[in-house]
């Protein structure tokens, strides 16, 4: 076991992916010499060369479009979009081309392209640097959408994404890049939980709290705080947003009868809305209260001096948990 930051765990995972498969590539803006603005790709170009760790021109559509072409040629590109809010120039290539090409070709084309996206707020950034656009991609058939919440998952999940023969949107919780934890960097992937499974992080009996990415730590803290109020929260780190691991979700909700979905993204049309609809359909007779959501308000991301009011935090989560007991 080694103590690593989440950023470093991703770096080690990418290194393994590049070592494992000579067709794997890393590409994006400033990923080479600089090692990425969050240092996730630090040192990779030095060790794997400029042909495999590619500093691209500054155009996101070009990054994804050329990655598709490289994948058609048999390569396995792992792209970095520098910040969440910069993904939209590439939105067309992702949604119109990357997600649909396998379907369009009746299965003859595989596009093993991973797109890493540092996402979420809480770092006091300027506009377009704190967004959570994951639902837009989860809504799009043909993509796998995942998010890691801690360094151990960061290390294994980025390798699993790189090995996937489907396109993967890989959302990294940027405010957790410097969180540290124990990571088994010599352990293989055989024992690792598959990328498309959710994990029960904290077992509980009274209410299920579903979360992913930057909210995993916050929800775990909320579970500890709730114990003081005599409430037992079951925290599930979703990890996968498309497809959803509904077996794990439904089993927990059938046990607790209550559910709060927590995410930094705006609640309107979000992952929480989809989960609430599915739980209502499949767990209706187990529910003691409607499924509630604790997320960002349905406004554009506000100036950073306001983000602590905008984003869900420990108190907002506990408030939502309390409300599930008032029905």
């Amino acid at each position: 076991m080694t103590t690593l930051t989440l950023s470093r765990a991703l770096n080690e995972g990418l290194r393994k992916a590049l070592e494992d498969n000579p067709r794997a590539l890393v590409m994006g803006e400033d990923v080479g010499k600089l090692g990425g603005v969050f240092r996730v790709t630090d040192g990779l170009q030095k060790d794997f060369g400029e042909a495999r760790v590619i500093d691209t021109p500054l155009a996101e559509s070009g990054i994804i479009g050329t990655a598709i072409g490289l994948a058609l040629r048999g390569y396995r590109p792992i792209c970095e979009i520098q910040f969440d809010g910069f993904i939209f120039p590439a939105f067309d290539q992702i949604v119109t081309q990357l997600a649909k090409m396998r379907y369009r070709s009746l299965g003859s084309v595989r596009l093993p392209v991973t797109i890493r996206v540092p996402f979420g707020g809480g770092i006091g950034a300027v506009e377009h640097h704190s967004e959570s656009p994951e639902a837009l991609f989860a809504h799009t058939p043909g993509l796998r959408v995942v998010s890691c919440g801690d360094p151990a998952d960061a290390f294994t999940m980025i390798q699993q994404a790189a090995r996937s023969d489907d396109p993967v949107l890989f959302f990294e919780p940027k405010r957790r890049y410097w969180d540290k934890a124990e990571v088994d960097i010599d352990g293989g992937l055989a024992a690792a939980l598959p990328m498309d499974r959710s994990r029960v992080l904290v077992e509980g009996t009274d209410v299920t709290v579903l979360c992913y990415g930057p909210m995993v730590r916050t929800c775990a803290e909320a579970a500890v705080a709730a114990q003081n109020d005599g409430r037992s929260i079951e925290v599930i780190d979703l990890r996968t947003l498309a497809p959803l691991d509904t077996d794990t979700i439904f089993a927990s909700v059938r046990k607790t009868g209550r559910c709060v979905v927590v995410h930094e993204a705006v609640v309107t049309g979000g992952i929480g809305a989809e989960i609430a609809a599915q739980i209502t359909q499949e767990c209706f007779y187990s529910l003691e209260a409607p499924v509630l959501r604790a997320g960002a308000y349905s406004t554009p991301y506000p100036p950073s001096r306001l983000e602590e009011y905008y984003l869900p935090d420990l108190d907002r989560i506990l408030d939502a948990v309390d409300r599930t007991f008032s029905y």
């Binding site: 495999r52 070009g62 050329t66 598709i68 490289l70 048999g74 369009r104 003859s108 489907d166 497809p243």
Partner: protein, 392 residues
Amino acid sequence: MAVKDAGRAARSASRALAREPERQADSAELIQLLTPEGERVEHPDYPLQISAEEVKALYRDLVIVRRIDFEAIALQRQGELGIWASLLGQEAAQVGSGRALAPRDMAFPTYREHGVAWCRGLDPMKLLELFRGVSHGGWDPTEHNFHLYTIVIGSQTLHATGYAMGIQRDGLVGEDGEAVIAYFGDGATSQGDVNEAFIWASVNNAPIVFFCQNNQWAISEPLERQSRTPLYLRAKGFGFPGVRVDGNDVLACLAVTRKAMQAAREGQGPTLIEAFTYRMGAHTTTDDPTRYRLSAELESWKLKDPIERVKQYLIRTQQAEMSFFDEVEAEAAEVGARVRLACQQMPDPEPTSMFDDVLTSETQQLAAERADFEAYLESFEADEAVAAGEAR
């Protein structure tokens, strides 16, 4: 008064812009090896040794792809196809460039490259499947090194560039190297993706040829709505050569594309080829060009027909007997009949096939939706069985 003057100035500016394309056509050097009258001319940069048999083969391609196009338009009119994007007028640009490719080269088409598809050996029925609504293409791009049709304008130029970067990483640039050709139109040159592809290809020195068929019209918008400068000149700003070729001259298109592809294969990087041509038909079968362009323009381009000039050349130089033209006509008619029949007999896909090939493995959610849909379909069969029983 000031407002009125401003309006007048704007009108006069727009008139000045409207004159631009004529100036473009006149002033730019157009590489030509066969005049509209069928006279063979030489160009110092593009010497072309070509046998009578090779010219006759090109003629055959031109006639057959025009015939497939003609049949497809008729099939659309009969309700057998949902829509068709005609290549009428662009046969030489497509056959000339398509025949310049080696089997190992890779082509990335738009949705109008039926002539290139023919040259690559793709069954024309695959194209009709797409326009009939039976598939979104559905061919394996590796089978003929011909990628799927791309409908969103310009997107494929980036895929082509990425593919060319893959060739570089495979170490296959050099004497026996491989190269990529990316097809697009004049309208696409306004797209960000095309400009990004130029940049990527340029800074990577990628083995790629950008083949722009400037057919003068992006649906209803003439070239001057896309560019104030001749399109081939844009390459210079990106740092690679650009040439303009007579897009209705199959020999020139062949020679120019061959040279550019060979340069790309050998590691000399990208070339932009602007094939100056004309979309003689509508944008697609749903379009009505009489709303936005004059018939005189069409008539003037008919005099530059890409097929007629090859025929005249073959006759004039006595390289072909009249029986040859009859044979080609008969073969084209046969291909046309085959296409017609196969299209009319083409079955619809199975309803549940719409769930196939979303991801490499089916998700639990999708499997559940598929099962629900199957049960839903079966419920009709059950109802029909009950109704049939009652009737009895």
